[in-house]
Symmetry: C2
Subunit: 243 residues, 2 copies
């Protein structure tokens, strides 16, 4: 069933805002009597029924609350070095499907492509829309936030209880216990750092170690910059959601 996100708290009746109207009525061709799911600003989800569609407006009525929650049991932020092409969109879409809470894109020392202040605003706006649409598709209760950091060291690492760096050199040296041990422990919120295509610079690694980040290998194969976050998020789900 189609799911949408509302910016406000939902009362018994809800008037569809312009973009939602356009998608529901014009694209999905919904009409009176059709149902959809609506997530409000408190992450509550309601089954809604369209009761009136006329003159470019549509009104829906609350049928019942849906209590199912599909959010990961831990809050996961991924920080990804900016890479070339449409890799950022790919990461946002797939990481959202896999339950990420926040995605930060940073200009890495070794980033081939960088975003300046002007460019980043448009990029983040576009990526936030990708996150919203992927959240609707994967029936999330929450739209992941997408943020920009002009450099890795400007991220506030202090608010995370678990900090991990996916480090290719660790993987090459056969490091294979850090992620396993971390995921077998208690975590509330985690940040995981992934370099751009060119990797993470020695200066960045030193800074991350000073911030108590742990270097981890994600298996023995070399993964592309945009693939590694998906490995991590899948592993977190496997370790924490299946049993």
């Amino acid at each position: 069933m189609q799911r949408y996100f509302a910016k406000e708290t939902i009362n018994d009746e809800y008037s569809l805002p312009k973009e939602m109207y356009k998608h529901a009525i014009k694209v999905m061709r919904m009409s009176e009597g059709d149902e959809f799911e609506l997530v409000d600003n408190n992450q509550s989800v309601f089954l809604m029924e369209l009761v009136l569609v006329e003159n470019n407006t549509a009104t829906a009525r609350k049928v019942k609350e849906i209590t199912k929650n599909v959010e990961l049991p831990i809050d996961v932020t991924i920080a990804c070095g900016i890479s070339k092409g449409d890799k950022a969109e790919f990461i946002v879409q797939k990481a959202t499907e896999m339950g990420v809470k926040k995605i930060i894109f940073f200009n890495g020392d070794y980033s081939v492509a960088k975003w300046d202040e002007k460019r980043q605003k448009k990029k983040i706006e576009r990526l936030s829309k990708v996150a919203q649409s992927a959240s609707e598709q994967s029936h999330r209760n929450f739209i992941p936030e997408v943020e920009y950091a002009s450099k890795l060291s400007s991220i506030d690492f202090s608010k995370y209880d678990t900090k991990l760096v996916a480090y290719e050199e660790s993987a090459k040296q056969g490091e294979k216990s850090t992620l396993y041990q971390i995921l077998n422990g208690k975590i509330e919120n985690m940040i995981a750092i992934f370099g751009p295509e060119g990797g993470i610079s020695p200066n960045e690694i030193q800074m991350l170690l000073q911030k108590d980040c742990k270097l981890a290998g994600l298996g023995p194969r070399i993964m592309r910059a945009e693939t590694a976050p998906l490995y991590l998020l899948s592993s977190i789900s496997f370790a924490k959601e299946l049993s």
Copy 2:
């Protein structure tokens, strides 16, 4: 370091075939003294040094054998329903990075796009090249095979000791123990079936159950057809390669 795959057994000297020559000398601009890695038809890997480059030919010499093996400890085949667009390329590239052994694309009952006999040949050729290039990039010892099945029931399921279906209905009903239990057991070779965008039909499910396939949920979120195989492969690596 650049890695290539040879079709033959490597003697002390190796003359680069046309495509490898083009990539190594023209694209990567390698010259005499430069080194690369070469995997032979027995999955042995050698460090090679270019000793002679002249007149559109290049010869390399064996420096030493590289014994590192990055293959998954179990053979995993994924069978994916044919989906629209370039999703097949995406699946082949990412699943190769994540260690898959074989990928079968099948026309599902609910496939919106289907490949006929004529089209499939070109598709499989193209996808095999994607697999080769991703294997080079991720330093695999093996290029995954890419195959076509005109329908799901024409796949030979008898040769796998573990058979799993990623089934959205199972996920919706909160099924969360099958994959965990399977990966905690002993596996030599596994096949996992993923539906196309439209899902797996009741007839297909019935056939799969008769073949002893187990229905498994891959976490509570709805993933796109091309994302679910990556969840599975990451989980296998996490469960079997990390500790």
